[in-house]
Every structure is written in C-alpha cells, then in structure tokens.
Symmetry: C2
C-alpha cells in the first residue's frame, strides 16, 4: 500500500513541470514583487464584476502554466480547481472556456494542496500524465460574500487577515527522470478540527489546531522531525495563527521555530496595514507558484512541506451560531 | 496507462461494500418506498435548522454505511463528500464528528459520481483500502439558497424540479475476490458544457448536453454501444432533460431509448406534483444506494452506468446574467 495512516506516498514522484500566477495591484507592491507573472492594474482588469475578474485570473493562470511548459490545452488530462465563492463560481466560468475534463474541489484555502495531492495520486496511479491544480481568490468577492459590502468600509479588527487577490496554477506531470523539476513525494490528508472558535475574524487561530493535527500526523506517519524539511510553509494562518501553531507543536514535542513560515506573512509589507497578514486560496498559491517554486528550481530549498489551511465555515453556519471547522492538508516537494 | 481520453479504468475493480440512505417524508411516500434505510418524520427531525438537519442526514448515512459493513469509523481511510450548500456547510459539520481524513468535493448534483471516481482511483492506486463517497441535499435549504424563501410560496413553473431531501453514502473498498459485491470498473470525467441556457428553472435542459458529451466520450473511449449496459441512469435531468438527452444521443448515432432512465424520474409519483421530477445531489444518491444497488446485489442488473449530472451556476452568476455551465461524470459498475 502507498499510504500510512492518513499520509500518502507518491512512489513515482510526479513532477511540477511549471507554475503560473497573477495578482492584484495591492499584492504586486508587497514583499514578493518580482515573483509574479502578471500584476493587474486594478481589481477588475476590464471586467464588469469582481467575480468575473476572479474567473479571468484563474483561467489566465491555468493557460499561462500550460504555455510555460510549451504544452497545449489538449495535452492536459484533467483540471482540479476550486475557489472560495459559493458554488465555485470563479472556477466553473474559468474552466468552461478550456475544454478540459474537470473535477471540482472545495477545501476553502486548503484547496490548492488538496488538488496537488489528488493530482499526484491520479498521476502516480497512472490515470493521468498531465494535470492542472489551480485556485483563485479575490479580496472584493470574498469580502462581500463572507463579511460586509466593501462599500460600507467596516473597520477591521487587528486579528483579521486580508484576502489575497490572485490565482495560481501548477502543471503536475508524470516524472520525467531526465528533468530537474521539483517532485511531489508524499502528502497528508487532514481531518476536520474544530476547537470552538466562533469569531470569523479569527481564522488563523481557528485553523492553527487543524494545521497542528495534520503536521503531527505527517511527522508521525513518515517518522521524521520538522528539521527533515528545509522549510515548512503554512497557507494562511497569519501572524497570530503562526505563533499559535509553533506553540501547539512545541507542546507535542516538535520544534518549528527555525524552519517555518506562513505564506500569509510573506505577501504584504507591514506598511500595507493588512493586520494579521494574508488569507485566501491564493495566499499559498501565489507564494508557492512564485517564490517557493523558484527556490526549489534553484535548489536553494531542496525539501519543502506546504500545508494548505482551510477555514470551512459558511456565512449560514456563522449566522446559526456554529463554530469554525478547519482542515489542513500537507504536501511534500523535493528538488 | 489506466486512462483513455477522459475515461479511467479501475483494473483492480474496487467493490461497493455497502450503501446507506436516508430521506425526508415526501420522498418516503414516493415510488421507491421500501428502498430507503430511514424515512424522517419531518424536514427537521428535531434539529433547529434545515441546514443542521441536512448535516445530520449526511452523517447518519455515512455511519450507517460503515455499520452495515460491520466496520468501525477508524477502518475508513478517507471520506470524500459534498453537498449543494455554500461552502459545503452540511458536509463539513457532518464530517467534523467522524474523525476521518476528509477531501471536499463540489460538482453540484454530479458530486456523488465524482466521489465514486476519485475514491475508486485512490483505491486502485493503492492509496486507500476503504473510502466513503457521500452526498446530501435538502429541499428547504436548496430552495432558500438558490431560489426564494420557501415561506413565500412562489409558484413553480412546469419545467422545474424538486430538490430531494436525503443523503446517500457508499463504502468503496479494495476488491475482495471472494465477495459478490458490485465492482467499480471504469468511469469518465466530464467537461464543462454550457449551451447558453439562462433559466435556472430549466436545469434538466441545461445539463442534458453535458450528459450527452460525457456519454459520447464514454462510449467512444471504451469502444462500446449503450446496449453494453443493462441500464444507464442519469442523476437528475428530470422528465424534460431525459427526453432531450435521448434526442441528443440519437443525433450522434447512439440509441438510449431502451435501457435508460433518469433517477430524477424515479423518486416521486405523478400525484406528488413535482413537475419535471427530482433534482439535487441526493437524487442519484438515494436511488443508487437503494434501488440500483439492490438490483446489482440481486444480479437483476449486471452492468450499470451511473451518470451524475451537475448544474454549476450560482445565484451570483445568475444575477450577473450568466448562463448555466453544466457537467456530467459517469461511473460503470458491474455485478
């Protein structure tokens, strides 16, 4: 068997052949300028709604990842994608234009890693040769769906995070042993963890216990310590959630203090006043497809664990006084 | 390779070890009385909201499928599940109570078949031994999310369908060659098809071209004719969509007139006045997990093709004047 507990082993080591990303102007002037394929001039980029712009970003990133590998759309066996919007609105209208068989995923901000795990499993199981895993988020579509109309200008509490406007796509392929592309070697599927937090501004603290649960399972199933990886990245715990995760792992005997960062803390500068950092499907997607992928290609990093973190509440569940169920999936990439 | 075009072949033939379902009282007095594990006394079953009741149904069906196989929750490697609600509300609160690693799917009413395909691929790829594929829908949660407050009593047009209140779960396992359980042998992943229909009451006609596209790909990839199957079932095209599908396949040279039925036409009696029939994730789920599974177990049917059909619009995309993108996935089961 190619699983141990909740972890999976991709023996054939599917490769990440190419990546692409696109971001909004606010992301473009942040810490990672230079690691994006395209920075939009505004939050609409000529579209008539934020949702249509988000859909455009996702389609753009998928096409760009395929272009970069000098592949055609018809070379892709299946697309796995998702976003934060109700009924995956951005995704469906993006994929409608591609004529590629499609499997829709929802894991909130953990969706990219969910897609990477399932795409790698289908490739390792010899069901596909080339797959796309892609996600998008948009600050303005997320704000009005999850919180308040942006026009209302509601003051944000210090613990809140800023949804990234952006999209990222990865082209994952069967291993070509001649290539020096980063390889997907293993992963861990998360369980839903809910510690009873009901404040939907506190998504980082709500998700940190899920990230801890998955990391502990990953280290235990693979019988490794955090130091096995050059770097461990979580998706969007933000400044508060990141500190909580380090604390939670310390309590379980794992030291994350030297080789761990959160993608949500890497996108904006302190001057940009996003409070606790970035969130959204695109948080891990634009950081991984840009900065981290480049570090892997240049062999500055050789072993990376990417942990997608998802807050699984809905406005309806919040209105019905429910707490925030969370999940985290992990994927190990080696250069 | 274990794929041909957009079709997958599960060479090890994972088995459907057990199934379970639960429905509302309106479904319970329909055509399939006797094929349900539990019929609720009302649409709340003691819960404080329809959403919480839907979540209860999904959890109940998953636990029941595991119970029927005399398994424990801890025997299940992964759950794949989804529903129609924003952010998969029913699913996340159901799975929160199970402590099983989870992968969330969204394919609207095609989600059960999407889950069957991915679960079978993970099992065939030796990433799992036992998986759950499960979905739910609830008439009252769907109505108020997609259409009007039910209290408003808006008149429904004749082409509209009635969302099934129910949930269904399948326990899919690695093939035990000693068992006589139905086997998942192949499947076809659909593309998104959108013929420009904008009337969200006409979901059957919107989805029929997607079902046709997937069926034609399936027959072509497998080099078979529709008569290869004892029966072909679509998920929820309803009376109008069913006739359209037969017509569309006839134009492509395939005869569906003798061995094809739509699950959406099998649940309610004509007296129940649901207009064009049933819809919802639970339409295919309760019919497959009840009636069809029993026919397979009794060898009354030996080869079945189940085609999950999903209408991928959202209220937001409808408000933004978009048409209805649709998808269909097919899975072949043999007894």
């Amino acid at each position: 068997m190619k699983n141990q507990g909740q972890s999976l082993f991709f023996n054939s080591q599917p490769q990440i052949t190419s990546t692409a990303n696109i971001v909004g102007p606010f992301e473009g002037i942040g810490q990672l300028t230079g690691y994006f394929d395209y920075i939009m001039k505004d939050s609409l980029e000529g579209h008539t709604s934020w949702e249509k712009c988000e859909s455009y970003m996702l389609e753009w990133s998928i096409r760009k990842a395929i272009d970069k590998a000098s592949y055609q759309l018809s070379d892709i066996d299946f697309v796995m994608a998702g976003d934060l919007l109700n009924q995956l609105t951005s995704t469906h209208f993006a994929v409608r234009n591609l004529n590629i068989p499609f499997l829709g995923l929802y894991g909130a901000c953990s969706t990219l890693v969910e897609g990477m795990l399932l795409a790698s499993a289908l490739i390792d199981g010899r069901f596909a040769s080339n797959m796309i895993a892609a996600v998008s988020s948009h600050h303005d579509t997320a704000e009005r769906q999850y919180r308040f109309p942006t026009e209302q200008g509601v003051q944000r509490p210090p613990i809140s995070q800023w949804t990234v406007t952006g999209a990222g796509a990865l082209l994952i392929s069967a291993n070509n042993s001649n290539s020096s592309k980063p390889k997907v070697v293993a992963g861990t599927v998360g369980k839903i963890v809910d510690m009873g937090i009901k404040d939907t501004n506190a998504m980082g603290p709500a998700m940190a216990p899920a990230a801890a649960d998955t990391l502990i399972a990953h280290f235990s199933n693979l019988n490794i310590q955090p130091r096995y990886y050059d770097m461990i990245y979580t998706g969007d715990l933000g400044k508060v959630g990141k500190l909580l995760l380090i604390e939670l792992l310390k309590e379980s005997g794992y030291n994350l203090s030297t080789n761990y960062e959160d993608c949500g803390c890497m996108i904006y500068t302190n001057d940009q006043d996003t409070h606790s950092g970035a969130s959204g499907c695109a948080s891990s997607a634009v950081v991984f497809s840009g900065y981290i992928y480049q570090q892997l290609m240049q062999k500055n990093l050789r072993r990376v664990l990417l942990v997608g973190t998802g807050s699984l509440h809905s406005p309806t569940s919040y209105q019905q006084k429910e707490s925030i169920p969370s999940i985290a999936h992990a994927v190990a990439i080696e250069a």
